[in-house]
């Protein structure tokens, strides 16, 4: 037995839809009682992976165990132990908030008295008590999301799968939502949450970065920043556009991201004196700017790892082209 207790383990998990490889050979180790993030752009295979872990999709190859249960063969036994909040609202829009929760409590066969108490408890906990008679279809994005989370946690599952839970929600609601997630994790639940927001990913204990179905990096946000193979140089210029144009010719630079007046410039760690290099280039062009080396944030990590993969792919194609 390993010294860490893993709630989810997957090896070589792949899913193919026709010729499209939606999830490509993903290994996962999700520690119990922690919040684990899937970070990736649309179409990177987050939902598909979650569905495979819930036992809703059968992997094309590879396997996964969730709470020690095989997702291929023991999906039914798993249902009572996991909660799943789908990306698209999947409760009944023509039922009221209370009716939806009552339905969920009955379908999970809570005993009569617990059922009533649990529904009442969730209504207050998720701030839906004064909406209990409203049809779910008429709720706002934030209210729908709270209802969906309430429904997913109603039977007190030990693992929660949340697929882009905050995509239709305003920033204040997002903050509150994350507070709730931390409370749930404190109570011992393992939470697997997918997102394409960097700030949300940064709050996870651990995360995996997905790109076109491939897991390109994983670890804690801090660890990812440390282990990144690029250095990050921040450039603050009066005219970021010209600065950007000037730097884009420099072959050592792998990517430039503009954030307002700031530019995040990435180059390989092996490149020595990166700051001087950038200063020199800008000086030659007569551009005034503050240049300093900074610690990579998640966005840098994301850009660096996906960029790296693109290059490797291109390299492969080139060498194939030469061979042919």
């Amino acid at each position: 037995m390993a010294d860490i207790d893993y709630a989810i383990q997957a090896t070589g998990l792949s899913k193919q839809f026709g010729s499209l490889v939606a999830v490509n050979n993903v290994d996962l180790n999700v520690p119990a009682g922690k919040i684990y993030g899937f970070l990736g752009p649309n179409g990177s295979g987050k939902s598909t992976t979650i569905r495979m872990l819930c036992g809703l999709l059968t992997p094309t190859s590879g396997s996964a165990t969730v709470l020690g249960l095989d997702t291929r063969k023991e999906a039914e036994a798993l249902k009572q132990k996991i909660g799943y909040m789908t990306q698209k609202f999947s409760l009944f829009e023509d039922l009221t908030v209370r009716e939806n929760l009552e339905f969920v409590s009955t379908i999970y066969t809570l005993s009569g008295r617990t059922r009533k108490a649990r529904v009442a408890e969730l209504l207050t906990e998720f701030d839906l008590a004064d909406r209990s008679r409203q049809y779910a279809g008429t709720l706002s994005g934030g209210q729908k999301q709270r209802l969906a989370l309430a429904a997913a946690t109603l039977h007190r599952p030990s693992i929660l799968f949340l697929d882009e839970p905050t995509s239709a929600v305003d920033p204040q609601n997002r903050r509150d939502f994350w507070e709730t997630l931390f409370e749930l994790a404190d109570q011992g639940a393992t939470i697997l949450v997918s997102t394409h927001y960097m700030d949300e990913a940064a709050r996870c204990h651990n995360l995996a970065i997905l790109d076109q179905g491939v897991k390109v990096a994983d670890g804690s946000p801090r660890q990812l920043g440390k282990e990144i193979t690029s250095q990050v140089i921040e450039v603050i210029a009066q005219d970021p556009n010209t600065a950007r144009n000037c730097l884009s010719d420099e072959s050592a630079i792998t990517s430039i991201t503009q954030l307002g007046v700031r530019l995040r410039v990435l180059m390989p760690k092996q490149q020595r004196d990166g700051v001087q290099l950038v200063q020199k280039r800008l000086g030659e062009a007569g551009i005034e700017a503050e240049v300093e080396a900074v610690f990579p944030d998640l966005e840098d990590v994301f850009v660096a790892v996906t960029e790296l993969r693109r290059r490797e792919d291109e390299g492969k194609q080139d060498s194939q082209g030469e061979a042919a």
């Binding site: 809703l56 999709l57 059968t58 039914e76 009572q80 789908t86 829009e93 023509d94 009955t106």
Partner: protein, 365 residues
């Protein structure tokens, strides 16, 4: 116990949703009403008052008597007396009449003479029903007081059992019970599951511990109640509005209908596992409904159909139900005397239900 609780959960949800779905609710009541009125009134196969004209070249006492007797049958409405055969032709061409009667100059002699046609009937044969009516007219008893009468009389006397007034409502209303139940029951269940798939509800549902048979049964139950509601609507309208006699036992009607409703609901479930969109589900429903209406004996008598059509009809649940319900309602038959039809329906139901449970996956792929 847990199973019952989960079935109950699905059932309750289904009832709540139904009570809020105005369109479906309107269809539950509207379809029986519209169909009954349509088939009971507009599509009336008792033909009366076809517009007709005649030419009477004889213009004798006998010919005038002949014309008035034809009018008395009420089958035709003699609007015109035309001057010539040509005029009759052009009236027919213009579509103003569907039947023309030509009485030749020597009408009296023809009546007395043996074996010769006494008059000519011109018929718009494009409509087979009118053609049939014309054939009735030729058999019309023309009561001339002359000695040759016996040779023209029909030797075969038709005795009409069960429907002495020859009203089509008597045959159509019991048949409509089956048609309406097929239409609505198959459609409602087929759409019910596909709709949840389209709306995304199914992804949530299949992630709960509910078992496939529980989900299916929970979905079927509310529609059984609806089917019975429709049965009551159709039968009471039929009984009190169209004066269809109900000779059989109400309990037997109930049992036969329950079985038929369950069969159609299972069939609908099966379709829902095949269709991916509500529109597809609807198309598939019509794929079943159309042959059911045409071949089940509802529109045309089963015995008059070619063998291939009969073979197809035997695999349509409506054919068996039509035999049952007409037997019970019109002949007052005992349901058990038609046990083979009951078994046929039960087999349909079990096969459809088992197939749909087997086909339905609690998975998305």
């Amino acid at each position: 116990m847990k199973t019952l609780l989960r079935i109950f959960a699905v059932m309750r949800k289904e009832f709540l949703q139904l009570s809020r779905d105005r369109l479906t609710f309107g269809m539950i009541v509207g379809i029986p009403l519209i169909q009954l009125l349509m088939f009971g009134y507009a599509i009336n196969t008792d033909v009366r008052y076809l517009s007709a004209a005649y030419v009477d070249e004889a213009d004798t006492h006998l010919s005038r008597q002949f014309v008035s007797e034809l009018t008395a049958t009420q089958v035709i409405d003699l609007k015109h007396r035309a001057a010539s055969l040509q005029e009759l032709d052009s009236l027919m061409d213009a579509g103003q009449i569907s039947i023309g009667i030509f009485i030749p100059e020597d009408f009296d002699r023809r009546v007395i003479g043996n074996g010769r046609q006494i008059a000519q009937l011109l018929v718009d044969g494009t409509d087979p029903i009118i053609l049939g009516v014309a054939q009735q007219l030729t058999a019309a008893p023309v009561a001339f007081d002359n000695q040759q009468r016996t040779s023209q009389q029909n030797r075969i006397v038709v005795r009409n059992y069960y429907n002495p007034e020859r009203r089509s409502a008597v045959n159509i209303v019991p048949g409509l019970v089956g048609v309406i139940l097929t239409m609505t029951m198959v459609l409602f269940t087929a759409v019910a599951i596909v709709r949840e798939r389209e709306r995304g509800n199914l992804e949530f549902l299949i992630n709960t511990p509910v078992k496939t048979p529980e989900l299916m049964l929970g979905k079927i139950f509310p529609y059984i109640v609806i089917g019975l509601l429709q049965l009551v609507i159709i039968l009471s309208l039929g009984r009190y509005f169209f004066e269809v006699p109900i000779r059989g036992d109400y309990l037997h009607i109930l049992w036969a209908s329950l079985l038929f409703i369950a069969t159609n609901l299972s069939l609908g479930l099966l379709l829902s596992t095949l269709a991916t969109t509500q529109f597809q589900a609807m198309q598939m429903t019509f794929f079943i409904l159309l042959p059911s209406i045409l071949l089940s004996g509802f529109m045309f008598p089963f015995d008059g159909m070619p063998p291939l059509a009969q073979a197809i009809a035997e695999v349509l649940p409506l054919t068996h139900f039509n035999r049952l319900i007409r037997g019970i309602i019109l002949r007052g038959a005992d349901i058990l005397s038609m046990w083979d039809e009951l078994i046929a329906l039960a087999v349909f139901m079990v096969v459809a239900l088992v197939l749909s449970i087997a086909r339905f996956r609690k998975r998305l792929d």
